[in-house]
Symmetry: C2
Subunit: 367 residues, 2 copies
């Protein structure tokens, strides 16, 4: 009944719009239903087919209308699915609205002086087929289209810039440093490991399954890797791989792993805190980290980061990365699923360890 | 009986030494009896009168023989009273030996090319009247003797250099920054607050009694101060003093205070971790800190430190501090007790909040 009613309203609306010369089309969306606690489930999201959008921007606006091509599935999104105090930094998702995240989009219309119809951009967009983006400050134009566009959700997009800024700016790496990367198969981790090898560091990664562990070594060139789920004693594992201690820890998981790493850091070690995925489903009761005294003992610098801090480095990052990408000197595993219908599964898979490399949703095939 | 026996041995030894032209004298010591857990008690230490020392250095040695004038009583000493893993950085005290710590000493003999008889030094020494120091790398010569020598245990010594290095190097302060100092009446805290005021910052300190709180404002020029023991809701207290958030937190206490501060930091805030005195008596089971995700949310830098990292800054520090000290533009509260007999009481007092400002033991009056 509801569907029939919606369909009627849609047809009436479409007819009305067409009368004034504006094209109205279906705009499939992934809707956030309600705030959650614990692990996200597919049923927390609704793929909605009934929405429409008018392919015309309001007069007097300063915005762009985009067709979303690829959407990036990122762990931080979980943090926006719950209301909790982030010190005003993150705004939780609005209920009954499309999810928001990073993506690659094509501009269909623009009333913004900086953007033109036909240009490609990557940056914050919405989980829907078409979006009107009025906040364009965090968008980048895509100028190198010889590279697969999906890579602008990863290696040349937000995770790439995060890895680049966090590793080179926060970690102060130098040749011979001993580097540990947790969640090393993730979108950021795989890059950090390769950057570290590029710098002449010794690099060890952890992941949650043997297949990923093998790939860390065979595909990404990590010196060593281990499956943290198979290590009954994480401290012993770290001591096995780092008998002299760790110079740089690239933190993606938090909790118990961080506690044990602190025991194994070297004097004047650096910890880049990129994320703490083990805590994202438990924001009301984060796990306590006990060994912070080691920050003092070993004069360790531990630094959180947000990708926005590195936006000014993007041209420099491209200069560094583009030749490596083109010459296939840097590897990147993405898992691309097609269609917004599959988006909830991909998003849920981030937290059960079942997915594999950078998760990307292809929303549309054609440019 | 034992005393009589010791006295006999001492007399015999003294006689023997005097035969070969070497002066043997009594060397009172504060002995560390056994590893402890929980708060230190006076009975954990023994003031021993029976020890003697020969006022002559072994031939072929490269060392100095010093007369200790002032000893510095510092919270970190508690950490050396227990065996636990500090990653090889701190060596626990040896049982039945004199405690070790910072002090001001006069050189009586030297076989070290860098040092001459009669010179004054500050740096690591032992809790006894006379010490032979063979590791002289961490000693500084005292060249400005118009300043009371006790201040080289504090404002011009280790706490001063710690405060200077940690505040100016780690905290990256700038005019208008909102600065919070915990344990603000301590040897380091009182200086940090004054440095911050000197830089044009807004400064709030916490302490454990009202008298200290009043002094922070009246003597050290803190803008605000509060008694943390009287605040049922620390988060509310911090929000009262920092409605816009904290740019710089100078961490001396750890535990719960750190957890609440993390919630109240600003974007790109800095935390200098100088110490975590609330945890020193509980090294087997440090309190877990839950809000580390805020390092990511707000891109906070949190950095531990050791005074050795700033040794090269000492000349620069003196250049900055000496005029301020001479012109009484910087204040410093020290509590000097006379005699090694009172050393255990002073040391124990560090942890029950009963002492007041920088604790110093005057071992000898004469130079």
């Amino acid at each position: 009944m509801l569907t029939t009613a919606c369909s009627y309203i849609y047809k009436t609306y479409k007819k009305k719009m067409e009368r004034v010369g504006e094209q109205v089309i279906r705009n499939k969306q992934v809707i956030f239903k309600d705030y959650i606690s614990g692990l996200p489930k597919e049923s927390d999201f609704l793929v909605k087919n009934e929405n429409t959008t008018t392919l015309k921007l309001p007069e007097g606006s300063e915005a762009i209308l985009v067709k979303n091509l690829y959407l990036s599935v990122d762990p931080y999104m979980r943090l926006l699915m719950q209301k909790f105090n982030t010190g005003g930094i993150f705004t939780p998702y609005q209920l009954s609205s499309a999810l928001e995240g990073y993506g690659v989009s094509k501009i269909l219309e623009s009333t913004h002086p900086k953007y033109k119809k036909g240009e490609l951009v990557w940056g914050p967009t919405k989980w829907e087929e078409y979006s009107i983006l009025s906040n364009t400050q965090r968008l980048f134009k895509i100028e190198h289209t010889d590279i697969p566009l999906s890579l602008y959700t990863g290696i040349l997009g937000m995770p790439g810039l995060t890895a680049y800024g966090a590793f080179f700016k926060v970690c102060s790496p130098k040749k011979g440093d001993c580097v540990f990367v947790s969640s090393a198969f993730g979108a950021v981790g795989q890059l950090v490991g390769q950057f570290a090898k590029h710098m002449g560091c010794y690099v060890v990664g952890s992941a949650g399954c043997d297949q990923k562990v093998n790939m860390l070594k065979s595909k990404f060139g990590f010196d060593e890797a281990f499956n943290y789920k198979e290590e009954p004693d994480l401290d012993a594992a770290l001591k096995r791989y780092f008998p002299e201690g760790i110079d740089i820890y690239f933190e993606n998981v938090g909790g118990k792993m961080l506690d044990i790493v602190l025991l194994n850091m070297k004097f004047e070690g650096r910890i880049a805190v990129c994320g703490m995925v083990s805590q994202y489903n438990n924001v009301d009761n984060f796990e306590g980290v006990k060994n912070l005294m080691h920050l003092v003992f070993k004069a360790i610098r531990m630094e959180g980061l947000q990708v926005y801090q590195y936006y000014h480095l993007y041209p420099k990052m491209l200069e560094f990365m583009l030749p490596l990408v083109r010459q296939k000197k840097i590897n990147y595993v993405e898992e691309i699923v097609e269609g917004l219908e599959k988006a909830p599964t991909s998003l849920v898979g981030l937290f059960d360890g079942n997915n594999y490399g950078k998760q990307v949703i292809q929303v549309a095939r054609d440019l």
